[in-house]
């Protein structure tokens, strides 16, 4: 990993998004902090319910009721080097709408349900372009055809008049990407962009994303549960468990020098094509706890193989730098001594 300083384009600090329901409060994201660097790909990885999608939506302020950001800052560096605090904006404000789609764009997991079924794909992209750029219909149409060609859609001048249902899953995801790129975003958030696709199509889409990033120099936040995709695509990795970040670092350190027991067991318990046939996998015991009964202390302690009674179940670990270099961070008492709760309201 090079030590050169990368420019931070988006920083998320102590983000908390809670869902207030009749049955109780679900702390979907409970104090997540990480940074996105210019021109690099950040992978947010974790299993279902870890809060990775809610984090992505919170960045764009698309958290849905009864969800609400209760604490934390999301700071975006704008093109003119000013910073803007996204949590301070109203969800339906003009400022925020100007950022969505043009500064930060989002690709959803399910390309079928994220398009309108009643309009042609051309229509939907043209609308998006004209909302953000001052162009005529004609120009917007030409731009759209150019975009569709760029994401590898054959015969774009004909495809532009087709409806989403006429396209295959892979093509639909390409159209989704074209739409996200329409206003040259500086940050692209891709929420499980290939989970619904077959492996050969997945390879095509990942290649396309990488190519586009090289061409445009945008930053990418890739949200996935697939460690293979992380290994192939990301520069930096954030590992989440039950709404909290347990470890962050450069991809090579995360895979070859993982420090949190959860990261380690995630890596050893995944089926791999590189394994010997018919070998048993080491497993994580138990299942992910229901968010209503989040375990006390470190949320991972009931499943942890290195659980230390009296420590892990009493104190809550916080994300801290592993060593002086400060590139890898981990939230675990194997690396830090617990401090009294009162002494740690620093951030």
């Amino acid at each position: 990993m090079s030590n050169e300083q990368h420019e931070v384009i988006l920083s998320v600090n102590n983000l908390k998004t809670y869902f207030f329901q009749d049955e109780g409060t679900v702390k979907a994201v409970d104090g997540a902090s990480f940074e996105v660097y210019k021109g690099r790909t950040l992978g947010i990885v974790g299993e279902s319910g870890c809060g990775k999608s809610v984090t992505a939506r919170s960045i764009l302020r698309l958290e849905e009721k009864p969800g609400r950001i209760v604490d934390g800052e999301i700071t975006l560096l704008r093109e003119d080097n000013s910073t803007i605090e996204l949590t301070a904006l109203k969800q339906n404000s003009r400022d925020l709408r100007a950022i969505r789609g043009s500064d930060i764009a989002l690709i959803f997991q399910e390309p079928m349900t994220s398009f309108s079924a009643h309009y042609t794909i051309g229509n939907q992209i043209i609308e998006m372009i004209r909302l953000h750029q001052n162009v005529t219909k004609r120009e917007a149409k030409d731009l759209t055809i150019e975009l569709l060609r760029r994401v590898g859609i054959p015969k774009p001048e004909r495809r532009i008049d087709e409806y989403p249902f006429q396209l295959s899953g892979g093509l639909r995801q390409r159209v989704m990407i074209a739409m996200a790129l329409a206003n040259n975003p500086r940050i692209l958030i891709a929420d499980e962009p290939t989970t619904a696709l077959d492996v050969t199509t997945q390879a095509q889409i990942l290649d396309l994303l990488r190519q586009l990033q090289e061409d445009t120099g945008m930053s990418v936040i890739l949200i996935t549960h697939d460690m293979g995709v992380v290994a192939e695509m990301c520069d930096d990795v954030v590992v989440m468990y039950l709404g909290r970040v347990v470890e962050t670092g450069p991809v090579d350190d995360i895979f070859h020098n993982p420090q949190h027991p959860y990261t380690r067991s995630l890596l050893t318990s995944i089926p791999s094509v590189l394994a010997e046939p018919r070998t048993k996998l080491p497993t994580l015991t138990g299942a992910i706890p229901h968010p209503y009964n989040r375990p006390q202390g470190c949320a991972f302690h009931p499943r942890c193989s290195e659980f230390m009674p009296g420590k892990c179940d009493h104190f809550t670990p916080h994300l801290q730098a592993l060593d002086a270099s400060g590139i890898q961070h981990v939230s675990c008492f194997l690396h830090h001594e617990p401090v009294a709760e009162s002494a740690e309201h620093i951030s």
Binding site: E47, S48, S168, G170, L171, D198, V199, T200, T201, Q202, A203, Q204, L206, D207, H225, D226, M227, G228, V229, V230, A231, E232, M233, C234, V251, D252, F255, H256, S265, L266, L267, S269, I270, P271, S272, V273, L274, A275, E276, P277, R278, T279, K280, L281, P282, T283, L284, A287, I288
Partner: protein, 343 residues
């Protein structure tokens, strides 16, 4: 891993299996074409082994497994199922009335543990139902068997009276497995049994399936799209593409030395969980062929990087090449393809 069974004994032989779905159009619903979902598929499974069917969506792997269960009636071909007693039945032509007796020997595990368990039935009802249907009328006998089964799959027998909603995805999949095992089947057809589960839970279910196979001498037909999962469970692997089997081989051979260009591309497309192994991948052009209107010759030729003129004209048969690997490719001998071995 043959669990002490005679290695040569075949439990299931699928011969020239075909399943075409008619495409109907217009007021008179005339048949205007057909989707060749399964197009001349043949393979055998030996007692005690795991054969995996892999392929991308729409390749016919699920239709094949449904034809074997006779949940669908095949258009053509034979599915010869051999009981432990030596009797052989053809599942494809068996009269419907006699199927119920046979089905207790072939059971199925489903993909989605959330929709395959009735939310209004307790675990006792769910797992006990196949017993009741097959003549175990005594409540006590069923209770004993259900608690035995729950213990076998790693659940607590005390939870017998609970409903599925009280359990996590992995636990529900265990219930599905217990239900499949209730009648002591010899063949289990598992259709994507772990693809709906979280990664840390997948490993638990795969390990359970390996354990049960050793304990009970089960035979698995494992249908999946995820090659890494397949590698962990299979003795042999059959790769399907647009309704046809393109390659069958022992797991290690198939992953280390694939002989069909499609297998090579599939293996290359799987993201490897190690950032140091980022390499140039073979990215296939275009989409999977349409089974209603397949290309001429070899169905894979429009996407194949090694295509020659012969591939466009002639359909390659599935044939044996050196080392017992079965491949449907004209150029199997001359090509040296790349597997996933680490070196």
């Amino acid at each position: 891993m043959m669990n002490g069974h005679d290695q040569s004994e075949t439990i299931l032989e699928v011969k020239n299996l075909k399943k075409f779905f008619p495409i109907r159009r217009g007021f008179l619903q005339r048949v205007v074409g057909e989707v060749r979902a399964v197009d001349d598929v043949s393979f055998t499974i030996k007692r005690g082994e795991t054969l995996s069917l892999v392929g991308e969506s729409g390749c016919g792997k699920t239709t094949t497994s449904r034809c074997i269960m006779r949940a669908l009636t095949p258009t053509e071909g034979d599915v010869l199922f051999r009981l432990e007693s030596g009797e052989t039945f053809n599942m494809a032509t068996q009269p419907k009335r006699q199927l119920r007796g046979l089905r207790r020997h072939i059971q199925m595990i489903f993909q989605d543990p959330f929709s395959s368990l009735n939310p209004r039935m307790t675990l006792f009802d769910i797992i006990g139902e196949p017993l009741l249907v097959n003549g175990v009328k005594s409540h006590d006998e069923r209770t004993d068997r259900v608690s035995e089964l729950l213990t076998l799959v790693g659940l607590r027998p005390e939870h017998m009276q609970r409903f599925p909603h009280a359990f996590s995805g992995g636990q529900r999949q265990r219930v599905g497995i217990a239900r499949a095992l209730a009648l002591n089947p010899s063949l289990i057809v598992a259709d994507e049994p772990v693809s709906a589960l979280d990664v840390s839970v997948q490993a638990q279910i795969l390990n359970l399936m390996l354990d049960l196979q050793d304990q009970l001498g089960l035979t698995y037909l494992f249908v999946a799209h995820d090659l890494s999962v397949v590698k962990h469970i299979s003795d042999r692997v059959a790769v399907m593409y647009v309704g046809k089997i393109v390659e069958v081989a022992e797991t290690k051979k198939l992953f280390d030395f694939p002989k069909h260009p499609y297998t090579e591309a599939l293996l290359s497309a799987v993201p490897k969980p190690d950032p140091r192994l980022r390499s140039e991948r073979i990215v296939l052009e275009g989409d999977v062929a349409d089974p209603a209107n397949p290309p001429s010759g070899c169905y894979f030729h429009p996407r194949c990087p090694y295509v020659i003129d012969r591939c466009k004209a002639e359909t390659p048969p599935l044939r044996e090449v050196e080392g017992g690997q079965l491949v449907a490719c004209h150029r199997a001998e001359e090509l040296t393809l790349k597997g996933v071995s680490v070196n």
